[in-house]
Amino acid sequence: MSTFDNPFDSDRNLQAGCGCGQHRSAAEHEQAAALRCEPVESEEKRYEGVVASAAMRAMFPQDVARRAFLKSVGASTALAALSQFFPLKTATEVFAQTGTPEKKDLKVGFIPITCATPIIMAAPMGFYSKHGLNVEVVKTAGWAVIRDKTINKEYDAAHMLAPMPIAISLGLGANAIPFAVPAIENINGQGIVLATKHKDKRDPKDWKGLKFAIPFDYSMHNYLLRYYLAEAGLDPDTDVQLRSVPPPEMVANLRADNIDGFLAPDNICQRAIYDGVGFMHLLSKEIWDGHPCCSFAASKEFITSAPNSFAALTRAIVDATAYASKAENRKQIAEAIAPANYINAPVTVLEQVLTGTYADGLGGVKTDAKRVDFDPFPWQSFAVWMLTQMKRWGQIKGDVDYKAVAEQVYLATDTKKLMTEMGLSPPTSSYKSFAVMGKTFDPTKPEDYVASFKIRKAS
């Protein structure tokens, strides 16, 4: 049952079961539908739908009665009749209304890669202003700088790699400052690119001694590359060299033959192909389909001192993410974010990333619509997985309270509330199990998961 469905559709079940008929229960359907945050034509319509659903449910607690009523009078009459008893318009307005932002002029930092798409596009495409904010999106030189500027309150919120807010909150590589993630930016959207000269070395088992670049130590890129190498029997700490290199320098280094390949965020992968220096070995989605990549993060201090601004900001991001998740909007987005003020990259490159029809660097054109996807929900199980990898590679020593950290940093409950208010359907649970390279991860048993890996840093 999706909150977006038309409540005046007589075939729709408002209570038990599932609206689309493909699932046994509403809960099951919701889980399946969780990742599809499809926006309705307008905000207004969406709220109207939610409110109308509630009103219909109140008037006809029995689905059978509601169906009979709708069948006999027709949906438009039902809507008119309902409006008489219950002023839908007013209720919708009240519902959409939230507290006025404490601070309207906000600064949000971003790194110029396609992961930041929702944060960036929200500016030129008006998602921030729609939610009553005047946001300046500021391009930043690197992950360490964006971290420092956000900690120093030069930015109110920022684009960060998904594990960064966890690392900052734990005080890894910086002072411990409580940070929180109200929304994930993108899922998938990374890739392993190798220099063209390695085009016959497609088996990772042959990669001993190669040099790879990753964008940052606390990144999904690092964890996924290490995971991938370890699955092939290579110890990423001793058998290969991993270097932390700012993404734009990766292409130049690959051209100069300083590195053999990299696991980088997109548009950098596609840029290397576009410039003819490398080829796409593997999309990160082939390692873990639906993995988080970048996040939208803010300090706990900002969240508590300006809760309404924070809520409006999150709403704008969730809204933009929902818009970006639609395949038909992707071309338009590519054009909006390509100029020098935003990502500053050729439109062709961004289009290939966002639409998923891309040149693979070996002379072929491939299509994968889910090469990068957008889904705002901050699954706490994602955070738990990242913590297990931090533990696995020795970034955290000693015992970790996985659940407590995950729940403190990944604000699934707040996001759920916001998504519900916006008429999107959030998943019912904040934990989900998933598989990385065929191996299932059970978020309730993180310690067993860490222990199950043969290749890891001895602690």
């Binding site: 500021v138 700088v145 410039d275 500053n344 040149a359």
Partner: protein, 280 residues
């Protein structure tokens, strides 16, 4: 007559060198790489380097065309991350100016005091020698961490890097004013303050200004590095932003402009130096 003909000849040699340089550059960056055969559908998704064997390095004609584009509209403003070259340069010059003036205000009076006292100048020398060679990039994380403001940090880094040559030269200039002149002033019973301003200052001025001239050069070197790191605005940010887009053409243009502005700043200080120089 003789000097003007020398100047003319030097000018001709300069132009010949430039022409030779541009010619070699042009020849070296012509597309020579073999073009791989690829399907048109694939080629549409690829860049010119891959499809037409275009050199990854732009030629002088590409740079010239792009430069003309920038010069036509130097002051455009497309939002916080994309501004015209004129605006970027203005930001950089303003930052350099602020940091440099602060350094002047601190270095010259302090250098004066240290220079007048041989004890202090000996005692402080090791500290100055240690602090002098530190790179701006090394100061940056420390500044960002303690000042907690990136634009102030950039100014601080300029300040801290440009202060040392001025301080050292002021100390040296003041300390090496001829003893006879000070003695003459003393016999004529000139007060300390008057002595400082009418005897020592004019005598030390050429050395002090040489220090200031070295410092402005350093300040301009530092700004590019600092802005690449803190980002936002300025010519250093412009270089970084275009590097991000792997646009070597724009990077070359920025290098050219950085050189020209640096030269102009140096010339201004050189003119001041000539104004205070005296024949002995």
């Amino acid at each position: 007559m003789k000097t003007s003909s020398l100047r003319l000849r030097a000018g001709l040699v300069s132009i010949a060198l430039l022409a030779a340089f541009l010619g070699i550059w042009h020849l070296a960056t012509r597309s020579t790489a073999p073009v791989a055969t690829m399907s048109p559908e694939y080629a549409k998704l690829m860049g010119l380097t891959a499809t037409q064997g275009k050199s990854a390095m732009p030629g002088p004609l590409d740079v010239g065309a792009k430069l003309w584009e920038h010069l036509k509209r130097p002051f455009y403003d497309n939002g916080p991350n994309d501004k015209g070259l004129g605006i970027q340069l203005a930001y950089s010059i303003a930052r350099v100016g602020t940091g440099y003036l602060l350094a002047v205000l601190v270095a010259i009076p302090l250098g004066f005091l240290i220079g007048m006292s041989p004890l202090l100048s000996k005692a402080l020398d090791p500290f100055i020698q240690v602090l002098k060679p530190i790179s701006p990039l090394a100061w940056m994380p420390l500044a960002l961490y303690t000042i907690k403001d990136s634009s102030v940090s950039a100014i601080f880094v300029i300040f801290i890097c440009s202060i040392w040559p001025m301080l050292l030269n002021t100390v040296f200039g003041v300390a090496s004013v001829r003893k006879e002149w000070i003695n003459v002033a003393r016999t004529l019973e000139v007060g300390t303050i008057r002595r400082a301003f009418t005897v020592i200052l004019p005598a030390a001025a050429p050395t002090i200004l040489t220090g200031m001239r070295i410092s402005i050069g350093i300040a301009w070197l530092v700004i590019v590095a600092a802005e690449m790191l803190v980002g936002g605005t300025g010519i250093g940010y412009f270089v970084w932003n275009e590097w991000n887009n792997l646009s070597i053409t724009n990077v070359i243009i920025a290098i050219l402009l950085i050189g020209i502005v640096g030269m102009l700043l140096d010339q201004i200080l050189a003119r001041f130096t000539r104004m205070v120089t005296f024949p002995e």
